[in-house]
């Protein structure tokens, strides 16, 4: 084992799996600047929330989903005052890079005919945030009932992305950040923010945290240095740096 | 004393066997499927009869009524199974010494390994043994467990004559020196006669007859079961002297003298000698210049009338009774009648080691 990993972490972050790449980059920057050690446990927001509920040693919860953050808030498992909505993402319609499809997002959107025999790849709209946003957007354009039977409901947004990347699905709905990172897909269209609830990534320090570095880390996530990284990965930064207490 | 009284059903087969034996060696004899193995299994405790009682020298192994059933491992029994049943994962040495009652470097163990010819096989796995080798290891394993009762289920079936003789000799020694009682199954009446004193004759799961081997063999009603050609009589005799030059022993009994190939027994020692009817001829006059050494004078007692070529005739020689087997042709030719004075001719060479037992 390397010395670095053997040393106990100063901050343990529980973060949604879809944040992996960008958060890793931010963490590296934070570690460089503050010479403290941060470890991140990536998993589904739901699992992480349940773990925090059951005594997980998390200092910071960084969710892709408001609902699970609300759940923890209601159980007083996070320090409400530290909760911030850090990032915003965009919902896009994607197709394989070589696809010739062109679609305009407009009322009475006809995705059904664009799909042909294929399916629309989307994260499970019953539970996964990206799916829920997608369902809201399609409903907004009266397209939901036409495609409801033609969905490829993936376990998460990455799986939906992969379905499109592999050409299994001619179209998919994912976050812009995902679409940017995957060279085998191209963005066909973006869903205007009005069509769905705000896609925000909330973060907070947990009530159980005893780490003195937790709050500084949370604050670092909204520093300009961090913001540069977030932007590079396609996020939009929402919050201004919180003032130290 | 071994007391067995058990009842058990196995499918269509009903075992209901009761016998008591105080003999050093008891033979279970009967046709294939008559229940011999089932009885040994019950005695060893590897199967549990539905009802009954088994006790050895007063120690109760099983008493279903009292709900007593000793575990096989505390019954202290050496059992040579019909199928060998070696431990396939252990080599021969580990099989032999599984019971841990004797260690590999006791003289006793070394002698037995030598006797069974297992010295070169000790590191072999059972799957690499021949049929006879397997059987010998099974015998060795049971004997090395230093049992207080030995159960042998056809242990000699696939041994060659020489090895069989050696093992039989060893079993006799165990019987005589160590005094371990033995219950054995054998299909060879020769083996039974040679070794056993007591015989339990089984038929279809029931005891058809039980008693001294000689008695049972002399009973003509059991002939179909025991094999007719083995009819004979046993004489109790005393060692008179040895003729070292000719390697013969002279025996005396109240009907006369018997010359037999030399046996190891000091003068005065009592022996049981089995004279098979088929080895005894009759003459009306004492023959001369004949190689037959034993010519016994006696009285013809009874002629057992039968159909076929062969007739068994009983005589009294002194106080002893012996049987002679002749053709019906000779019977007529010599005009043999009960009460007649006759000479019984017994070849010394026909009385081999197999026919002599220590009383």
């Amino acid at each position: 084992l390397s010395v670095a990993s053997a040393q106990a972490a100063d901050v343990t972050v529980f973060a949604a799996a879809s944040l992996k790449e960008s958060l890793d980059a931010v963490v590296r920057e934070f570690e460089r600047q503050s010479s403290s050690k941060v470890v991140v446990s990536y998993a589904a927001s739901s699992a992480l929330a349940r773990q925090i509920e059951n005594g997980a040693p998390a200092d910071v919860f960084f969710s892709a989903d408001l609902e699970w953050m609300d759940y923890l808030t209601s159980k007083r498992l996070i320090v409400a005052s530290t909760r911030t909505s850090l990032l915003r993402n965009e919902l896009v319609l994607i197709a394989p890079t070589d696809s010739k499809l062109t679609i305009r997002i407009e009322p009475n959107l006809d995705l059904r005919s664009a799909l042909g025999e294929g399916r629309l790849a989307i994260a499970n709209p019953d539970m996964v945030p990206a799916g829920k946003y997608g369902k809201a957007a399609l409903t907004h354009y009266n397209a939901w009932s036409a495609v409801e039977q033609r969905l490829a409901r993936a376990e998460n947004v990455r799986a939906a992305l992969l379905l499109v990347a592999l050409g299994e699905a001619p179209l998919g709905i994912v976050y812009r950040t995902d679409a940017l990172a995957e060279p085998r897909v191209r963005v066909v269209a973006s869903f205007p923010p009005v069509s769905h609830p705000d896609i925000v990534y909330p973060a907070a320090v947990t009530s159980a945290s005893r780490s003195t570095r937790a709050k500084p880390f949370l604050d670092f996530l909204s520093t300009p240095a961090a913001a540069m990284i977030w932007t590079r990965y396609g996020f939009r930064v929402l919050a201004a740096p919180a003032s130290p207490r | 004393m071994l007391e067995v009284a058990i009842q058990h059903r196995l499918g269509a087969f009903a075992l209901d066997a009761t016998f008591v034996t105080t003999a050093r060696i008891t033979a279970l004899f009967g046709r294939s499927g008559c229940g011999k193995t089932s009885i040994l299994n019950a005695i060893a405790g590897v199967s549990r009869p539905q009802s009954g009682r088994i006790a050895l020298n007063g120690r109760v192994f099983l008493d279903v009524a009292q709900n007593v059933c000793l575990s096989p491992n505390v019954r202290d029994i050496g059992y040579v199974f019909q199928q060998g049943l070696l431990f396939p994962h252990l080599n021969v040495a580990d099989n032999l010494f599984f019971s841990k009652r004797l260690s590999e470097d006791t003289p006793q163990a070394r002698r037995l390994i030598e006797l069974l010819g297992l010295g070169a096989l000790l590191k072999r796995r059972p799957r690499d043994l021949s049929g006879g080798e397997t059987q010998r290891v099974a015998i060795g394993r049971a004997l090395l467990s230093n049992p207080s009762l030995l159960l042998l289920d056809e242990p000699l079936a696939s041994l060659d004559a020489q090895r069989k003789h050696e093992v039989l000799t060893h079993i006799e020694q165990l019987r005589d020196e160590v005094g371990i009682p033995i219950v054995m199954v054998s299909h060879s009446i020769d083996e039974v006669i040679r070794l056993a004193e007591h015989m339990v004759l089984l038929e279809d799961g029931r005891v058809k007859a039980a008693g001294a081997v000689d008695e049972l063999l002399a009973r003509l009603d059991l002939a179909p079961a025991t094999g007719r050609h083995e009819a004979g009589a046993v004489i109790d005799a005393e060692v008179a002297s040895h003729d070292v030059e000719h390697a013969v022993t002279l025996l005396r009994f109240d009907g006369g003298e018997l010359t037999i190939p030399r046996v190891v027994a000091s003068p005065g020692h009592r022996l049981r000698v089995r004279l098979r009817a088929r080895d005894v001829s009759l003459a009306l006059q004492r023959p001369v210049d004949i190689s037959i050494n034993n010519i016994l004078e006696g009285t013809l007692l009874e002629i057992r009338d039968e159909v076929g070529a062969i007739v068994d005739v009983s005589l009294r020689v002194g106080e002893a009774r012996i049987l002679a087997r002749v053709t019906r042709l000779s019977l007529g030719r010599l005009r043999l009648q009960p009460g007649q004075r006759v000479y019984a001719l017994v070849k010394a060479v026909s009385i081999d080691r197999h026919s002599v037992g220590y009383a």
Binding site: N54, R158 | N73, F98
Partner: protein
Amino acid sequence: MDNDALLQIVGLSMKVAFCSVLLSLPLAMIIAYVLARYDFPGKTIFDAIVHLPLVLPPVVIGFALLLTLGRNGPIGSLLHDWFGIVVAFKWTGAAIASAIMGFPLMVRAIRLSVMAIDRRIEHAARTLGASPLRVLVSVVLPLALPGIITGSVLSFARSLGEFGATITFVSNIPGQTQTLPLAIYTATQVPGDEAQIQAIWLSLVAVALSVAALAASEWLSRRYNTNA
């Protein structure tokens, strides 16, 4: 991912896999023996409970573990209050999760081998003075070795691949609970070629470990083979 991190993940996975096999082996042997040899009322239900980790989605098992062995769970709180032991979010918890997930595989394999043993061989051992315990140790266990080895290999392999229960129960904390499958999963959650290459690379490591385990098991079973 650098070499150190990889080594750490591999080391942790091996530790978890080994411990999960060791952890489950004794109980699996006992249960396999009982299931192979005895009939009792409710045997099928008992058998079903043993199979539970196979039948339910791993996430459910992980969730159940979290609820029972977590710090607030009935057993977890006992362990913590009485012995100061915490398994949730520790590598020990990962080992427990793996052990449970591999448990039915282990039991079934051992049971199969126990059922193939000729009971008369055991009888022979009893007549040679061996107590039931000695028969178990000197006869049944060695003769069930093929099943024990197979069961251990299956459990070990399952542990190398166990994902759902582990990530749910002990989360995915690098250096503490991030085993190989969790690392592979994490890599698959990142789009793009680089991450994909990393996922494949980690998968190859897992395969290499399993090849090593299989080679060892083949060697073992050849050495102690009882059937020509």
